[in-house]
Amino acid sequence: MAKKIDESQVRQVAKLSRLDLTDDEVARFSIELSAIVEYIEKLNELDVDSVEPLAHCLPIGNVFRADEIRPSLDTEAALSNAPQRHDEYFKVPKILDDNSGA
């Protein structure tokens, strides 16, 4: 039987997520992800013809806040978990714009 998530799809998702996977990992994730998707596909057996599509699991809407300023974090606190910093900036490896970006 063809796998639900084949190796090329794993490589594609890994690329979008900027993950560098070994060939062994690609093979393993293809099997594992396929098993997960197959399991979830059980839901397709349900008859939902008479059920309205649901946009959110809570039966409420319009939860807003007023446009009022609240204190921000102290910069030191904001940067405290950053693996690297440069002055008051987060410092990250440079990523060239390939196919991400809005």
Partner: protein, 487 residues
């Protein structure tokens, strides 16, 4: 030589920063130019376990803008996650709207050079959050400032209805005016409050066959000049490419370009091979928004007369030139101030001259708008009336305007106190004319000679009389008496 015609086809994506005080989903203050990472909190830097909460004002500003763009407002809208990995996007997804945007199917009118207007369709407008800023000055590293992350961002997508670089620029400027009129954005291009992304291609007819070139998207333009030039450049480049290679559009091969302002050209960034790489899915942390009649009516009541409507009305109703009407309506408060002054009884053309020639200058020096100057529309109308009635000269009106601003006195008080009342008394003026004629026999001879020198000599004599009256004689009366005397 084969026959070739082509049409430029452009659609625009526009991102507008909304002028709320706080971010879209947290209470961090919106600030431009602050020290990096001082306007951040666990929500907008993507800490685990936090919950976003919608800013009501941002939503209402968006609806107001969509209404001004004649869009349908959805009774039900929801949020989605747009996933991509980039360092300035701390959650690794952007909260946006995918299949159920809050508004769709609108249009905007833009003025054309020939005086007509053109309707450009709006496909949709949706609300999302901006990313942070990525600063590439650290060699192999980047510095990230997340102050901007989470800023409410209204995205407006037009139909590909524009057919020239000038039309694209006009739409951009109209939209800037509209959001400023509505007060929903400062729309300061230099601060990145508005960013534009044109999608450009050509429809080429060659020997009776239609060819379409592949679409180029130019990213992140933030000046009107760059918008216009990049569209014109891309159109030329695509035509050259077509003539050279004959290449036409293939499915999904939209190419992304940046604009190199220094070299005035577009630069290929990347091929968009995976159109659906964003893996949109419903945002579980935010509940949907339902719009009801009452709320919508309340937002609708905040609409105002829009800039182009006002410009057209000023040109039609007040008989102003398109140019003058455009200058007056560039800013809503100035336009409304002018309108009030006209309604208070001032002559429209006279008020237009006073405001555009003197008012804007004074306001500029004071660093405010004309409407913010400490004068009332009624006082300015009175000033215009006094000029119209010949009580003061148009040149004196500038000085009086300035006095009005500085002293907050009414124009008639200033005129009385400074003895600026224009003399219309024919007897008094006649005496001055007689004196000038007696003192300048040579000029009088030239003036009556009827030759080339005549006009110049009459002007000289006019000037002498005006000088004698210290500028207070009515030029109309002086001219009439002088020409009578010179026969």
């Amino acid at each position: 030589m084969s026959e070739l015609e082509y049409k430029i086809v452009v659609g625009l994506e526009i991102h507008v920063h909304l002028a709320t005080r706080t971010k879209m989903f947290c209470g961090c203050e919106l600030a431009y130019g602050e020290q990096a990472n001082t306007r951040v909190c666990p929500v907008c830097i993507g800490m685990p376990g936090v919950l976003p909460v919608m800013n009501k004002k941002a939503f209402e500003y968006s609806v107001l803008t969509a209404l001004a763009l004649n869009c349908n407002i959805s009774s039900f809208t929801k949020w989605d996650r747009k996933s991509y990995y980039y360092p300035d996007l701390p959650k690794n997804y952007q909260i946006s709207q995918y299949d159920l945007p809050f508004s769709e199917h609108g249009h905007i009118e833009i003025p054309l050079e020939d005086g007509r207007t053109k309707r450009i369709g709006i496909i949709r407008a949706h609300l999302e959050e901006d990313a942070g800023k990525n600063i590439h000055t650290l060699g192999n590293f980047s510095a990230i400032d997340l102050n901007r992350a989470g800023t409410p961002l209204l995205e407006i997508v037009t139909e590909p209805d524009m057919n020239s670089a000038a039309e694209v620029r006009t739409l951009a400027t109209q939209l800037q005016r509209i959001v400023r009129y509505l007060g929903v954005s400062e729309a300061d291009m230099q601060k990145g409050h508005m960013r534009f992304e044109p999608n450009i291609n050509l429809h080429i007819t060659k020997d009776g066959t239609l060819y379409k070139t592949s679409i180029s998207e130019v990213k992140n333009l933030n000046s009107f000049r760059a918008i216009e030039r990049s569209v014109a450049y891309e159109a030329d480049r695509q035509l050259d490419e077509f003539l050279e290679t004959g290449a036409t559009m293939k499915m999904g091969n939209k190419r992304t370009y940046g604009w190199d302002d220094e070299n005035q050209c577009t630069v290929l960034q990347r091929e968009k091979e995976e159109a659906h790489g964003y893996r949109y899915f419903p945002e579980p942390d935010l509940v949907p928004v339902e719009m009801n009649e009452k709320w919508l009516a309340e937002i609708k009541s905040r609409l105002c007369e829009l800039p182009l409507q006002m410009q057209t009305r000023f040109a039609g109703e007040y008989k102003l030139s398109d140019y003058d009407a455009g200058v007056l309506t560039a800013d809503r408060s100035t336009a409304e101030f002018f309108d009030r002054a006209v309604k208070a009884g001032g002559d429209a053309k006279r008020l237009c001259n006073i405001i555009t020639q003197t008012g804007l200058k004074i306001a500029n020096v004071k660093g405010c708008t004309v409407a913010e100057l400490p004068i009332t529309a009624e006082a300015l109308a009175k000033l215009a009336q006094m000029v119209e009635a010949g009580e003061i000269s148009p040149s004196a009106s500038a000085a009086i305007f300035e006095d009005m601003v500085n002293t907050q006195k009414t124009p008639d008080t200033i005129v009385r106190e400074k003895n600026l009342i224009q003399k219309n008394d024919a007897g008094e003026i006649e005496a001055m004319v007689d004196e000038v004629i007696a003192a300048n026999p040579k000029a009088v001879a030239d003036a009556t000679s009827g030759g080339k020198k005549s006009k110049k000599a009459i002007g000289f004599l006019m000037g002498q009389v005006m000088q004698k009256s210290r500028g207070q004689a009515s030029p109309k009366v002086v001219s009439a008496i002088l020409s009578k005397k010179l026969g």
